[in-house]
C-alpha cells in the first residue's frame, strides 16, 4: 500500500521566535527553517514501514511556499519516493490543508496517511483529525507505536493518563507523537539522489480548495514576561522561603 506523509516547513525548533514590532506576526526573515519535528517522525515511520515491506511507496506532501521544496527534498533524502508541493504564499489554515490532503488522497488512494500531531509554529494540532473526518476514515492520534495487521492498523496512543491502544480499519490516518521513533539523518549520497526524485508542483486550485483564512489574526503580541527572581545561598534559605509561602 501507499503511504502519504504530510510535512511542513517551520521555524527551526532551536530558534527562539521573535514577535514583530508591529504586532502582525513572528519575524521569519533570515531565520533558520526546518521540517516540523513531528513530521520528521512521520516520514521516518513511513520509511520503517516500507523497510518492513508493509508500505510500497511513500509520497511526501507539503503545502506552502516555493521554499517548502527544500523540506520535501529532505523527506526524499530520508527515503520518500516522490513528492507533491502544493504551492501558495498565503498562510494556509489546518482546515484548508486538510481539504488539500483529502484531494491528494482521493487521487493517490494511500492505505496510510501519516502526519505530525502538531506543527511547532501555530501549535494547532488539527490537520490529521480533519483529514480523517473529511475522508470518513479512522484516526490514530499521538501515536507511540504503529503495527499494521492485515487490513487494520493498531495504534498505541500517548494520552494524558498514560497509553491507550486502538485498532483502526485501513485506510487510516495516524498522527505522530515524540516517541514513535527517532528520525534518521539523510546521508550525503541520499541527498544527492533525492535531487532526481520526482517532485510535482500543484496549487490549491488544482484540488478546488479555497484557502481564504477563516480566522482573522487581529494581533500577535509578546507573552507576559517573567523576570528572574533571586538566588538563595543554601538549602536552609530555600526552606525558609518555602515556609514563607506556606508550602512547608
Amino acid at each position: 500500500m501507499k503511504a502519504l506523509v504530510c510535512v511542513k516547513r517551520v521555524i527551526d525548533y532551536n530558534v527562539k521566535p521573535r514577535v514583530k514590532a508591529d504586532g502582525t506576526g513572528v519575524d521569519l526573515a533570515n531565520v533558520k527553517m526546518s521540517m516540523n519535528p513531528f513530521d520528521e517522525i512521520a516520514v521516518e515511520e513511513a520509511i520503517r514501514l516500507k523497510e518492513k515491506g508493509v508500505v510500497t511507496e511513500i509520497i511526501a506532501v507539503s503545502v506552502g511556499p516555493q521554499k517548502a521544496q527544500e523540506t520535501l527534498r529532505t523527506a526524499l533524502a530520508m527515503g520518500a519516493d516522490r513528492a507533491i508541493l502544493v504551492m501558495t504564499d498565503d498562510e494556509v489554515e489546518p482546515l484548508a490543508v486538510a481539504k488539500i490532503v483529502k484531494g491528494i488522497a482521493d487521487e493517490e488512494a494511500p492505505g496510510l496517511i501519516i502526519t505530525g500531531k502538531q506543527a511547532i509554529d501555530d501549535d494547532s494540532n488539527q490537520v490529521g483529525q480533519m483529514v480523517a473526518a473529511l475522508l470518513g476514515r479512522p484516526q490514530g492520534t499521538f501515536a507511540n507505536e504503529i503495527t499494521v495487521e492485515g487490513d487494520s492498523v493498531v495504534v498505541k496512543r500517548e494520552i494524558d493518563g498514560g497509553l491507550e491502544t486502538v485498532k483502526l480499519a485501513l485506510p487510516a490516518v495516524v498522527t505522530t507523537d515524540l516517541r514513535l521513533n527517532e528520525p534518521r539523518y539523510a546521508s550525503l549520497p541520499n541527498i544527492m539522489k533525492a535531487k532526481n526524485k520526482p517532485l510535482a508542483n500543484k496549487t490549491p486550485a488544482d484540488y478546488g480548495v479555497d484557502t481564504t483564512p477563516r480566522l482573522k489574526t487581529l494581533k500577535v503580541g509578546e507573552p507576559p514576561v517573567r523576570v528572574a527572581g533571586i538566588k538563595v545561598a543554601d538549602v536552609d534559605a530555600l526552606v525558609a522561603k518555602l515556609k514563607e509561602m506556606g508550602v512547608a
Binding site: 480566522l215 500577535v220 509578546e222 533571586i230 509561602m245
Partner: protein, 310 residues
C-alpha cells in the same frame, strides 16, 4: 445569547477536573449545555448537572461512546451542533482528538487552546510554544474551540441543578475499536491539577536515581511529579509525566524544577506557574531566567538535604 455545547471529560462515574475550567470559558461565550457521552454514564451526568453555570445536561449513553472514540463521538457532536453556536472542549488529549474532527465535519476552522475570551468570536491563543500570543477572530458561522485549562478558573463543581436530557446519535461507525489502555495508577495529585509539582530533568541520570531523588521530595510536599522531555526520552519516567509544549501544560502554585536546564519547549509548559523554584548546577541555565527562587549546586546533595529539612 449564544448557545454553547461543552464536552464533559469523565470516567462515567465522575467528572474530570479539566471540565470545570472549560465551563468557565464557555460561560464567557454563552449559555452552557454540558454533553456527557459515555456508556453507563448516569453518575457522570448527575455530577455534570451540579456544576455551577451548566444550564442543561445532554446524556448520550451508548456502548459506542464508551471510550470516546473520535469516529463515534464526533458525528454525535456534529449532529447536536445543529442547535448550538459553539462547541467547547478541554485541550486534553481527548479534546484534542475529538474537536478537530467535529470542526471538519462542520466545515469550521477550530480555535485551539484558547487563553482568554475577548469577544463573542475573538480569542487569544498561544503560538510558537507560547513565545507569542495571537488574538484571532473567527469568521465561521459556528465555533469549535479547545480551552487551555490553566488559563481559566475552575467553575464550582457543586451548586448547580441542571436538568438531564437523554439524547442519541449515530451508532458505532465500525471504523475503530478500543483495544486497551495502560493508565498509571497513582495516589499522587494529577499534574494538571496539582498545587505543587516537583519535576526532574536529564541530570537525574537514570530511572532509579529519578525515583531516589525526586520522589521523596514530592512525597514530603504532597506534590505531583513531572519531567522534562529529555528525561522522558531517556526513559527515566513514562510519557504522561512530560511537561512542555507537546506534553502537559501546568500552572501550579509552586513548580520545583530539578536538574532541568529550561529548554523553550519545557518553559512553554510551566511558565505560568505561580512560583518557580530551580535547582541546577549550571548557574547560567536558562531556567534561572524564569525562576523566582534559584539554588545553584549539586542536586544529588541539595535535594536530599532539602527533603530532610522539610
Amino acid at each position: 445569547m449564544a448557545k454553547v455545547l461543552v464536552w464533559v471529560e469523565h470516567d462515567n462515574a465522575s467528572v474530570k477536573d479539566a471540565t470545570l475550567a472549560v465551563v468557565t470559558a464557555a460561560s464567557q461565550i454563552g449559555e452552557v449545555t454540558a454533553l456527557v457521552a459515555g456508556s453507563g454514564c448516569d453518575a457522570a451526568a448527575a455530577a455534570a448537572a451540579q456544576i455551577e453555570g451548566v444550564t442543561k445536561v445532554l446524556k448520550a449513553d451508548d456502548a459506542a461512546y464508551a471510550n470516546a472514540l473520535a469516529e463515534n463521538v464526533a458525528p454525535l457532536v456534529a449532529g447536536l451542533m445543529a442547535d448550538y453556536d459553539a462547541f467547547v472542549a478541554p485541550a486534553t488529549t481527548t479534546g484534542k482528538n475529538i474537536a478537530p474532527r467535529v470542526a471538519a465535519l462542520l466545515d469550521v476552522m477550530q480555535v485551539s487552546d484558547i487563553l482568554s475570551v475577548e469577544g463573542p468570536k475573538t480569542f487569544t491563543r498561544p503560538i510558537y510554544a507560547g513565545n507569542a500570543i495571537a488574538t484571532v477572530e473567527s469568521t465561521d458561522a459556528k465555533l469549535v474551540i479547545t480551552v487551555r485549562g490553566t488559563a481559566f478558573g475552575k467553575a464550582a463543581a457543586t451548586g448547580g441543578s441542571a436538568a438531564v436530557e437523554a439524547v442519541s446519535g449515530p451508532a458505532d461507525s465500525g471504523l475503530s475499536s478500543f483495544v486497551g489502555s495502560e493508565i498509571a495508577k497513582s495516589e499522587r495529585p494529577e499534574l494538571t491539577s496539582a498545587k505543587i509539582i516537583v519535576s526532574g530533568g536529564r541530570a537525574l541520570k537514570d530511572a532509579a536515581t529519578f525515583q531516589e531523588v525526586i520522589i521523596p521530595l514530592a512525597d514530603k510536599l504532597g506534590a505531583g511529579v513531572g519531567a522534562s522531555r529529555a528525561a522522558v526520552d531517556a526513559g527515566y519516567v513514562p510519557n504522561d509525566y512530560q511537561v512542555g509544549q507537546t506534553g502537559k501544560i501546568v500552572a501550579p502554585q509552586v513548580y520545583i524544577a530539578v536538574g532541568i536546564s529550561g529548554a523553550i519547549q519545557h518553559l512553554a509548559g510551566m511558565k505560568d506557574s505561580k512560583v518557580i523554584i530551580a535547582i541546577n548546577k549550571d548557574e547560567d541555565a536558562p531556567i534561572f531566567q524564569v525562576a523566582d527562587i534559584g539554588l545553584v549546586g549539586d542536586l544529588f546533595k541539595l535535594v536530599p538535604e532539602l527533603t530532610g529539612k522539610l
